[in-house]
């Protein structure tokens, strides 16, 4: 998916995070995608050459990222700044508390 900013200024943020301690499995992937859908910015997660649309749990799962892998999270859009911390928090915590 292309990184297109709708209206406003385009803000691009790239961070490298270690993959969740127990891997990017169904729960963190679902939580991550759910949260990503709440933002307007495009979210891409990369594991080496593989790229996943951050809004799709399936895509994220297909990264097959084992624990400790370095993941690249790219955000592109006006709310990239706001989105960055909570999204990264899910990956680093490995768990996401929906409450």
């Amino acid at each position: 998916m292309g990184a297109t900013a709708v209206g406003g200024t385009s803000i691009r943020r790239t961070v490298i995070v270690a993959n969740p301690p127990d891997g990017l499995h169904m729960r963190p992937a679902t939580a991550f995608a759910k949260l990503a859908r709440g933002f307007r910015c495009a979210v891409t997660v990369r594991n080496g050459e593989k790229a996943a649309d951050g809004r799709s749990p399936t895509d994220l799962l297909m990264l097959f990222a084992p624990p400790g892998t370095e993941l690249v999270v790219e955000l592109d859009g006006e709310d990239a700044d706001i989105a960055l911390d909570p999204l990264v928090a899910i990956l680093t915590a490995g768990e996401y508390d929906p409450a």
């Binding site: 729960r27 679902t30 809004r55 799709s56 749990p57 399936t58």
Partner: protein
């Protein structure tokens, strides 16, 4: 192009679009929908997805209440796939672009995902995810199907059916005119798929190993039942070669059919045998006649029951029986076997049929009928009513005790009395027989013989129950062997009991369709064979080379042997000597 090797169980060549049945037998419509219906399919998909989300949420709440938040959260995660807009959009895209049915689009898309997961099977996550996606597919397919799940007979064009394995109830509902070949991942040469293919006279290859994720419905595949090949995505040269081979084959089999009709089933020393056909569907009565069968020795009636929204009515039964009697003619026997299925196969039993841990030793077949008298009596009434249209005979399956047979006969008498009172015509002297397919029945065959007009040895179940080996389970399939001395001794008891009581002993299992067993069976005293119609010409040919005294020596020799392999080798050598081409 990919060539997969399996076990050839039914000869012939078929080329056609694939109809893929998933491992649990959920039918997937492979036909596309008309373009104007694509929007409706998208709506159906969306509705199913919403329903699945609700279902997952409910499960999560229920589980969380029961086991705590942690466990509940697992279900939230599983439900997460249903909320994956991208995943759903991908499926939707297939519907819009190719006018696939919603079911097919789901399956096709998930198959792609599963294939990617299989390619990464060295990663433990991939293995776990595979199950999640399969669940997702099943969940959606189940919701999409609902009550109008498209049954197989509704396929509109001829197809090659691909499955992990076919269950008896699935096969019973196949529209034989539209299925050109079968290929399955598992199963051996005695699996139900193999029998079915034989009955339908269509090519089949089983035991191919995993291939379902490599193929989607409507892909063109080739089934080469002569050599045991399944060819996926064939190239043009291969297609041309196989089309030509198929054309030649058709010409040849037409000639074969014509000659075999006119050969009588008489041994070299002039003993006349009766060769009958086994059928599963009314339409197969014609195959029997084409192959020169002198009637129907086993008319399975399960097709009337399975996957119907209601149990068949007396009229449904009656029409099916009358059709076969009329086709076969008034003077040739038609042996109708009463219902031979487990309770889980019934539409009206869904929900209340208890899950049996060991269904083959459970409430099935005649046991089920004796517990469900309205169901049983409906069938018996229809059979009796149809009896006036020809030489109909009734046969009870899976009788294990003398008591069961007595019960069956007394219920039959009740039904006869009811018909009499209502002034409905039926033949009062319809012959009644029992199958001998449970070892306990073979052991008391002398008692049973006094109460019936004929026996029919169902070798498939007799072998399975005698050796306690499921023939569909590859791990123990080698134990399953009709040539096992234990089986032969039981059969010997049965034929002796039949002779002593002066009743006919027929053999209707697959054993009777194998030319190598013909000398043994004749030697044991069997004079009536009932086999898949396709096998009848082969048996006739072998029979014409045999003499009864020789066969009796063969049988005596076999009964002295200690192992199945000794018997098999001996019979094969014997058959090879008298008719080289029949021994293979």
């Amino acid at each position: 192009m990919e060539i997969r090797r399996g076990i050839a169980v039914s000869p012939g060549i078929a080329i056609g679009p694939a109809l893929v049945m998933d491992t649990e037998g959920v039918r997937i419509r492979t036909t596309s929908v008309p373009p104007e219906q694509a929007a409706t399919e998208v709506e159906r998909l969306r509705a199913a997805v919403s329903a699945a989300q609700v279902e997952a949420a409910e499960k999560q709440v229920a589980l969380a209440e029961k086991f705590g938040q942690e466990i509940g959260a697992i279900f939230e995660a599983k439900g997460g796939l249903y909320q994956d807009e991208h995943l759903i959009a991908g499926i939707e895209g297939l519907i819009r672009a190719h006018h696939f049915s919603a079911e097919y689009a789901v399956s096709r898309h998930i198959r792609g995902v599963v294939k990617r997961l299989d390619a990464a099977s060295h990663m433990p996550q991939a293995v776990r995810l595979r199950g999640d996606f399969i669940d997702f597919e099943r969940g959606l397919l189940a919701l999409l199907g609902g009550d109008q799940r498209t049954p197989l007979p509704a396929v509109a064009e001829p197809v090659v059916v691909l499955a992990n394995d076919l269950t008896p109830n699935e096969t019973a509902e196949l529209d034989t005119n539209l299925v050109h070949a079968l290929a399955t991942e598992s199963g051996g040469s005695t699996s139900h798929t193999a029998i079915l293919a034989g009955a339908l006279e269509i090519p089949a290859v089983v035991g191919v190993g995993p291939f379902l994720t490599d193929v989607s419905g409507a892909d063109v595949v080739i089934v080469d039942g002569n050599n045991g090949y399944l060819i996926l995505d064939p190239d043009d040269a291969t297609l041309t070669r196989y089309r030509e081979a198929r054309r030649l084959e058709r010409t040849k089999s037409g000639e074969h059919r014509v000659t075999s009709r006119n050969v009588p089933a008489v041994t070299r020393d002039g003993v006349r045998l009766t060769l009958l056909g086994n059928i599963e569907f009314p339409g197969e009565a014609r195959h029997c006649l084409d192959r020169g069968a002198e009637g129907v020795g086993l008319y399975r009636t399960e097709f009337l029951y399975v996957h119907k929204s209601e149990d068949p009515t007396e009229e449904d039964h009656f029409r099916a029986y009358r059709a076969v009697l009329e086709e076969i003619g008034p003077d040739k026997p038609v042996v109708v076997r009463t219902l031979d299925l487990g309770g889980d196969k019934f539409a009206n039993a869904t929900g209340r049929a208890a899950q049996e841990k060991n269904p083959f030793l459970g409430l099935r077949s005649v046991r089920l009928c004796l517990r469900n008298l309205p169901l049983f009596k409906t069938q018996l009434r229809a059979i009796l009513r149809a009896s006036v249209y020809g030489d109909l005979r009734i046969m009870f399956p899976m009788i294990a005790t003398v008591m069961e047979l007595r019960q069956c006969k007394s219920i039959l008498r009740e039904v006869q009395e009811d018909l009499e009172e209502s002034g409905i015509p039926f033949k009062p002297d319809v012959p009644v027989g029992t199958m001998i397919e449970v070892p306990s029945a073979a052991l008391v065959a002398d008692v049973l013989a006094k109460q019936v007009n004929f026996f029919s040895i169902g070798t498939n179940d007799l072998v399975q129950y005698t050796l306690a080996a499921d023939r569909n389970n590859e791990a123990v399939a080698d134990l399953y062997n009709a040539a096992d001395p234990a089986v032969l001794r039981l059969m010997d008891m049965v034929t002796r009991a039949g002779q002593a009581a002066g009743i006919e002993v027929n053999v209707c299992g697959e054993m009777s369709g194998e030319p190598v067993f013909a000398p043994l069976l004749i030697g044991l005293g069997v004079r009536q064979f009932s086999a898949t119609p396709r096998k009848i010409p082969d048996i006739k040919r072998v029979v014409s080379k045999l003499t009864v005294p020789d066969c009796e020596r063969v049988a005596a020799e076999c009964l002295r042997m200690e192992t199945a392999s000794e018997v098999t080798r001996f019979l094969r050598d014997y058959t090879r000597r008298i008719l080289p081409e029949a021994a293979d």
